[in-house]
Symmetry: C2
DNA sequence: TATAATCGTTATGACAGTACAACTATCTCC
DNA sequence: GGAGATAGTTGTACTGTCATAACGATTATA
């Protein structure tokens, strides 16, 4: 996949059209860098011995305990499927299901220590930056970091 | 999802560790920008009325005709599944299967005009850059474009 | 206390993705 | 021309994803 990024330069006063073209080219490269790592997904699946949706749920839960319905919502799925996933994770000893103290209908899902370790392993595989990024000059990398921080803040 | 991108500045002469940290932070933001668009995948699926793997194959084919085995290889799958996908796309009138002139064992898959339009529609949905990117100053965007071109070339 | 609403679970099943073996048609090379 | 290789297809089966409906337990409300 090669993009038309070379042709997308933003000349000053070139109008919104050129800006859109440049932003699209940049975003296309990002998509290429992130999505062309299907092998990484496979690596995570193999390293943890479970399907990717499980690791996604596990990583989400490391940010803090969630109720079943909240988890379902975060994962953009429904409650029955959340039950299925948590059943599996619990069987593996990676999460714990406890009754909510204030509302005994609710269950709270918490990651165990083993779960936290597994999630970190997955994260380390997925977050390893691509070669081209590590090959940049110090100052280029620093510039990129600064601009990307701004992009993230604005999204 | 907030990253630790603020803490990841590269000080000159700070060693490989700081570089790795900065690159990881940048890559984390990229993953956030690209992967937090699962709704876009759903939008594509709904707009084209077919599963995402079909659109992936279709978009790949717009770059040029491929033989079945080549397509299977590009899609990281096997020949039987490629057959399944092309069967479906052909039934929808989006691609055409013709016998290779030099080797009558081979079939060449070509996108039709309708297929090209469908692929462009999908691409326009997927490639729309996120807000934060469009909100950058002209010169920041230009810098980003230049550095990203280098990153892509080095990956 | 009776009724309705909410939370999670169970049950069922559809569909997509993937892998493997077997088959047909064609080509290559001796 | 015959043996073996190659391209694509068909058939089968298994796993993962995800939706729907019905259910039991608990809570809130009338």
């Amino acid at each position: 996949m090669t993009t038309q990024i070379e042709d997308a330069a933003v000349a000053p006063g070139d109008g919104e059209d050129a800006r859109l073209r440049a932003a699209s080219a940049v975003y296309a490269t990002m998509r290429y860098l992130v999505l062309d790592q299907d092998d990484r997904r496979a690596a995570v699946v193999e390293a943890l011995g479970m399907s990717f949706s499980r690791t996604k749920a596990l990583r989400r839960l490391t940010a803090g305990p969630l109720r079943m319905s909240e988890l379902a919502q975060k994962l953009l799925t429904d409650k029955p499927y959340a039950t299925l996933i948590v059943d599996d994770l619990e069987r593996r000893g990676l999460v714990l299901r406890t009754v909510h103290p204030d509302d005994r209908r609710c269950k709270v899902v918490t990651v165990t220590e083993a779960g936290r370790l597994a999630a970190e392993l997955a994260e380390s595989i997925l977050a390893r930056p691509p070669r081209g990024l590590l090959a940049l000059e110090d100052e280029e990398l620093e510039t990129l970091r600064r601009v990307m921080a701004k992009v993230e803040a604005g999204s």
